[in-house]
């Protein structure tokens, strides 16, 4: 899994991408004429090929030198890397938008071929669980799905499912955005009373980053603590590191190799933009993220049962992995996983800027002190308010682009209070400093409580969660 709340920068129109391809071609010619080191040229060629793939996905046509795209250049709406004309770009490693409100999620649903989580579905979930739907559902934060009605049909007939989500442990530090899928998954686990598996893709991070195997595994264990601190039920939750579980499970590798037999390089090239210069580990990795979608990957939990359907709550950028998985599933006699997709978590600097683990000011980290939280929000949170108090009182602020307000939609559960804030900020009754203070007052105790829970987690508890074992549920 990659990070939720990831890079969001710039916008891509066909003509922009065309110019990037052209410029990259020029750059390679220069490098070659200057007899640059082979590594450097290879790297530049790789980028060129990747840009050409993007261009083809965006326009449906091959890049041709000297033939820029016209207004009539069609947009390929099926390509997973495709982006709408001048709008957004979403794949597991990059999210780009030119809009301060963030990505246009309705367009993404059309492009990815998923379904909107509409009022009917939310009402149905509410009826089935006999509870108010989670505010992530009420507020459209989980906005898209695949096969949720099928999950609910089966659940109604006493055929339960299991949950699967994950995290790519690229560093010790997780930020509040990383919590979104886990907060929602915990809620799903509680209201449906179903088992959960959490994959930590330390092998992915080893392959993609400049990390040792040992370091990647260490990050996985550290991240597991933050995940456990979200409050998962140890009797119903199995957390695993790929590097560890691959060598422990009698079922996991068998499913990995089954998926690997049914996906060609051509397919992963189309879906993920891999090139011939990519290592064979990256090329075959999608099978490893696919395998936990099948209950037979967990014989310790599900015994001989290969037919238990899986529901995957994840950020929408992970969907390419699971479209591939759903394509393979019937060919290896497994049920297709269902999905619920979340929106991206915005960076402090705004929904169209890049949230980066290497920039501590781009988000609130789970290790931040109360003081750091206060300073970051006051200093860095992009405001939808006006420049002066007078103007603000007169014209009001813009909640659609205000990051503090966006964060509150994630973390302030009280609907009425949130609505009051929206009205007051929009009218100008609430000042930017006051809005920031509400967010600070919301996040400080939330993160302090998280840190307190994390402190209580012993090595023994981590080991318990990470031991393959029978979980408490009836199938």
């Amino acid at each position: 899994m990659s990070d939720n709340g990831k890079s969001m920068s710039g916008s891509i129109a066909p003509v922009d991408l065309y110019e990037r391809v052209t410029a990259q071609g020029d750059k390679i010619r220069t490098l070659k004429s200057e007899k640059a080191p082979k590594d450097e040229i290879d790297c530049a060629v790789k980028l060129l090929l990747s840009l050409k793939v993007d261009y083809k996905n965006l326009t449906g046509q091959d890049y041709k030198p000297g033939v820029p795209p016209t207004d009539n250049t069609s947009i390929n709406s099926n390509g997973p890397l495709s982006t709408d004309n001048g709008d957004d770009f979403v794949d597991p490693w990059t999210v780009q938008t030119g809009n301060a409100k963030g990505v246009d999620y309705d367009k993404l649903i059309v492009r990815f071929g998923s379904s909107k989580i509409d009022k009917d579905l939310i009402d149905r979930i509410s009826r089935v669980i006999g509870q108010k739907p989670h505010h992530f559902l009420r507020r459209g934060i989980f906005f898209s799905h695949r096969d949720m009605h099928q999950i609910l049909d089966a659940y109604g007939k006493k055929k339960p499912f299991y949950l699967y989500t994950g995290r790519g442990p690229s560093s010790e530090a997780m930020h509040v955005g990383h919590l979104i899928p886990f907060i929602f998954t915990k809620w799903l686990q509680e209201v449906f009373n179903v088992p959960l598996v959490v994959q930590l893709t330390d092998d992915e991070k080893y392959l993609w980053k400049d990390l040792t195997v040992e370091k990647a595994y260490q990050y996985a264990i550290e991240n597991a603590k933050d995940i456990i601190a979200c409050g998962f039920d140890v009797n119903k939750t199995f957390i695993f590191s790929d590097l560890d579980y691959m060598g422990t499970s009698s079922g996991f590798y068998k499913n990995v190799v089954k998926v690997q037999k049914h996906v060609t390089f051509n397919q992963v090239k189309g879906i993920f933009g891999f090139t011939d210069s990519d290592c064979i580990g990256k090329i075959s990795f999608p099978a490893i993220q696919a395998a936990p979608s099948f209950s037979s990957s967990f014989p310790e939990i599900f015994k001989e049962r290969t037919d238990i359907q899986c529901l995957i709550p994840c950020a929408i950028d992970q969907d390419p992995y699971f479209r591939m998985t759903r394509d393979v599933a019937p060919r290896i006699n497994c049920p297709k996983p269902a999905l619920m997709h979340s929106t991206f978590f915005p960076a402090l600097q705004g929904a169209q800027t890049k949230m980066s683990a290497s920039d501590p000011n781009s988000s609130i980290f789970l290790t931040d002190t109360a003081k750091q939280i206060k300073t970051k929000i006051n200093k860095h949170a992009f405001s939808g308010g006006k420049d002066t108090i007078e103007e603000h009182r007169q014209f009001g602020g813009n909640c659609d682009i205000d990051v503090c307000y966006m964060y509150l939609t994630f973390f302030l559960e009280d609907d009425e209070k949130l609505e009051q804030i929206r009205q007051d900020y929009t009218s100008g009754a609430l000042l930017t400093g006051e809005l920031k203070k509400i967010l600070i007052d919301t996040l400080q105790p939330m993160i302090a409580a998280h840190q307190e829970r994390k402190k209580q987690i012993t090595e023994e508890t981590v080991k318990q969660f990470m031991t393959p074992r029978k979980l408490a549920f009836d199938f």
Copy 2:
């Protein structure tokens, strides 16, 4: 691992290959114009791409329509798929030669960049072990090596090594040719007193063949019995199925993923001829055959030791895997494996014909009865004798192309007796029927004894060999 004693058919000159590429191109155009099924076209395109790679490896030039190779077309001597002008073709899946004597192994040594097992090395081995060298060494059946002097240097300083060999379990039936690496490995294990790991690549066979995971694993277990029946010491031997061991070992997957990070698709394309239409399982498989070359893949055997060098006895066609492995080794801080390469085991029909598991008459199987052995040899073994007894007595037979004589070089240990046979057959004193009888009398008791030993092997014994555990040795 693929099969030893594999397909040997035809010869390839650049001009022949050029014509095959051209014909394949024509075929695809015809298929497309006839709107043939997509599968069929894809398959034809795949073959075309593969032929083009072969052509480039053979000639060092890209295939250009209308430009046939000239006599000056240079031969690329580094390409692992390369073949000498009009001569042999060797990769892990195909061995081709036009010569009834078989592949020209001296040329193969030059092309692969390995070293000849010369008299000096054989004498040195003999001195170190204080015994007569194995007849596979005396007779040039193990003819090529990499780093054997380094292995012996270290061994002299009390730094032992471990042995690694393998088998691709593509069916239940193994033939006598499959025994060659195991007979030699058993001897190495005895005379050097070192541990051995045997990899059964059931995952490879699942990926390449029309087999289920369960069937491939079942073949692995069945083949393990034949391997055990060769007489390996259970206290010093670990046999493993990939499908099984991947989910049991804390070290294996970590090394697989390390190798996968350091090999690109471009590299495996060059080495193994993979194309974009190949599944990602095949593309990443070479890392799985590489990993057992590193002692850290077996923490159950070697504990924390990552520095124990590996010696791989195998048929020469497996060398591409281990050239790749040796390339990666220093980059992941592991010693390069040393190798000893064997020649191919000829089919009954002759050294240039194809030995096929689906043709029961192409070899002697370990399950054959005494009667079947007799019939096969009498009916199918290609003879170097003359057409009539009179001619044979007058001109003598040709041992260089006689399959019975070749088989005796593998299985008749007595040098004097073998030399006497050679002289008598060459002079015409020994008739073809008599030579066949000698081979029958050699193979019948050998195979009966193998079957008897195999019958004694219980499930319990197989389990013992296949359980990851400490082995008896001092490092």
